[in-house]
């Protein structure tokens, strides 16, 4: 039995539809990340799960129970908000204990449970303080403690790390990952940060305009993006897209575009002679070509070089199209020098130019 099921879920505000006919099943103990650009409906979907937004159509169930009309408190969920949402006038202890007190848990048991949770999250020294006396990271830990203490069936995280600085964000990300390893509670996590999604998720649900673009493990989504949107959204630096025309040549195929002709075997792709397609290739997959290499070249003049430390991102024009290659820093060419890059056929992606869908055979 899956922990969360959404079937044909819709959400509309007046005439504007935010989420359209969404179907999703989340397994028990799974860590699922809703990822997408802002305004894609990922937070709305999470808030619908939490019961903070009405469900306009369809059915949502948590732990096998339909929750469409249940109060947020009765859904067996706990939520961590982006801005922590602590009760500012209460001490940390009272903040964590608030939910238990509302459920009329006896005081000695509350004390015991709050102390246990505080110990897990290293909050013991702060129990008597007010939220404003804590740093952002500590406040977020209090918010997590307040969620944990209810021993929910499902954890919901709404961009919990967005308000933290970069260093603290990395630290808290690791803590959340550890927490999930030890608690194994089903978790739904909303973020627009692909690094968080890639590192934390068992499965990523990539959303755009209220529609699921792709569901899959981080590796699947990275290696086999289902369409151009997913391919462009996941991976930094962004994937290069080159419009090409497909041609048949002997046993293989040629891709003509961006001032070059590339020949591939084309195995594993649906293609026809004369098709308009888009070739996608990630900057790290472009390799400096040796002088003897005569085919499958992307070449031009390096017009921008961004130094990243170990690597450098070289941007060059190829047949009027900007292409970037991520190369080891020691292979980095000089600015305005001619560059030649090549690739392995396994690392390319091909998409239908009209629909944007991947041409890969399933």
């Amino acid at each position: 039995m899956s922990a969360i099921t959404c079937s044909h879920v819709d959400k509309a505000y007046g005439a504007t539809t935010v989420i359209r006919d969404l179907n999703l099943a989340i397994e028990e103990h799974e860590f699922v990340v809703f990822l997408g650009p802002s305004g894609c409906g990922k937070s709305t979907l999470l808030r619908m799960l939490a019961g903070l937004e009405d469900i306009s159509g369809g059915e949502m169930s948590i732990g096998g129970k339909v929750v469409n009309d249940l109060d947020p408190g009765d859904r067996g969920i706990a939520m961590v908000f982006q801005n922590y949402a602590l009760y500012p006038h209460m001490t940390i202890f009272d903040n964590i204990a608030f939910g238990l007190r509302r459920q009329k848990v006896p005081a000695p048991e509350i004390k015991k449970r709050v102390e246990a949770v505080a110990r897990t999250l290293g909050l013991e020294p702060y129990l008597g303080r007010k939220p404003t006396e804590l740093s952002g990271g500590q406040q977020q830990r209090v918010a997590i403690a307040r969620a944990m203490i209810k021993t929910p069936k499902v954890f919901l995280f709404d961009e919990p790390l967005s308000n933290l600085d970069a260093k603290l964000r990395n630290h808290m990300r690791v803590e959340i990952a550890r927490l999930h390893q030890s608690l194994k509670t089903t978790t739904v996590y909303v973020t627009h940060d692909q690094l968080e999604a890639m590192t934390l998720a068992d499965r990523i649900v990539l959303l755009k305009d209220g529609v699921i673009e792709q569901i899959g493990s981080p590796a699947e989504i990275y290696r086999r993006p289902g369409n151009m949107f997913v391919a462009g959204f996941i991976g930094t630096p962004n994937m290069n897209f080159v419009e090409v025309t497909v041609g048949r040549s002997g046993n293989g195929w040629t891709l003509t575009g961006a001032g070059t002709v590339l020949s591939i075997t084309g195995q594993g792709y649906h293609m026809q002679h004369g098709d308009r397609a888009v070739l996608g290739i990630r900057p790290p997959d472009l390799k400096t070509a040796g002088a003897d290499r005569g085919c499958n070249l992307l070449q031009g003049t390096a017009d921008l070089i961004e130094f990243h430390g170990n690597d450098a991102l070289v941007t060059f024009g190829s047949g009027g199209k900007e292409v970037s290659a991520l190369v080891p820093a020691r292979e980095c060419p000089d600015l305005c020098a001619p560059v030649r890059y090549t690739f392995d056929e396994e690392s390319i992606h091909l998409f239908d130019a009209a629909t944007g869908l991947s041409l890969r055979k399933q």
């Binding site: 947020p72 801005n83 602590l86 209810k150």
Partner: protein, 288 residues
């Protein structure tokens, strides 16, 4: 540097001097008069020092006025805050944003009425034979007469209700606006934390608004001290001395009944001292 530092002084000194003259001269003059035995009927006077104050504490009508003033203060402040919070929360919970604006507009109207007009409107409303406020009583009892303003037990509450009608409704609008300024997340977190609607307000929103609510209460406490016009129009301190507050009694001693302005001034000075001490004490308590 010199020019910069002299500018504030140039602007502040004249205004502060005017303010000081306007506020301190009458105050000092009242204190001086309170130490004499002036009466409106005779031009002569002599210094009696504290005998006016001593007389006051033997005056049963004065002690009654103190008690009425305290009752008035407590009843109006508590009722106003209760109505304001109750209605504010109710509007926040039940009314749509559009409807809220309509209510806000309606609830501000009473406080815009001049006090004397409000007092007359309600005096008619409380009329035992024709008043709209007493109409339900006549209807239920088949024509029995009920005159809230001329019964000692109800007069104070009847007058206080007008005060609450004006300020309680106005404050309800302020409470609603305060609630609307609160961030929604703690409220949502409380909903996830199994809190019922009333618990969210009792434990989360109202404690978050503690500081502004206390300020509102102070405003109302000061405003309640200045209820002379309302009481004067509606009951003139009656029936008997049932609604005779300190300022009513001072006014009638000074100008209506006996023209004993020194005696009245002594009351005013006592009131001032009591007010300053009480408010300083309360303010310190709240700050702490």
């Amino acid at each position: 540097m010199r020019r910069r530092s002299s500018l504030p002084v140039t602007f502040l000194v004249p205004t502060l001097a005017i303010l000081l003259v306007l506020s301190m001269v009458p105050t000092l003059y009242a204190i001086v008069i309170a130490l004499q035995n002036r009466e409106l009927s005779t031009p002569g006077y002599s210094w009696v020092w504290f005998s006016n104050f001593a007389d006051l504490f033997l005056d049963r009508r004065f002690l009654n006025a103190v008690w009425v003033s305290v009752k008035w203060e407590i009843v109006t402040v508590v009722a106003t805050m209760a109505v304001a919070i109750g209605l504010g929360v109710l509007m926040f919970e039940v009314a749509s944003p559009r409807l809220r604006n309509v209510y806000c507009l309606l609830f501000i109207i009473p406080v815009l009425l001049p006090r004397v007009s409000a007092a007359f409107v309600w005096k008619f409303a409380y009329h035992p034979l024709y008043g709209i406020a007493t109409y339900p009583y006549r209807l239920i009892t088949g024509g029995l007469i009920f005159d809230p303003l001329s019964k000692a037990s109800t007069a104070l509450f009847a007058v206080a209700s007008v005060d609450v009608w004006q300020w309680g409704l106005f404050f309800a609008v302020i409470v609603l606006k305060l609630l609307e300024t609160l961030p929604p997340q703690p409220i949502e977190a409380a909903r996830l934390d199994h809190a019922k609607r009333w618990q969210i307000h009792a434990y989360v929103t109202l404690p978050m608004l503690k500081a502004p609510l206390i300020s509102l209460m102070f405003v109302k406490m000061i405003e309640s001290l200045r209820s002379f016009d309302l009481i004067y129009v509606m009951t003139r301190g009656g029936p008997g001395v049932a609604t005779e507050t300190l300022d009513m009694y001072a006014f009638s001693q000074g100008f209506i009944e006996s023209g004993k302005v020194s005696y009245a001034s002594a009351m005013a000075v006592l009131m001032m001292i009591a007010t300053v001490i009480t408010f300083t004490f309360l303010w310190k308590r709240v700050q702490a």
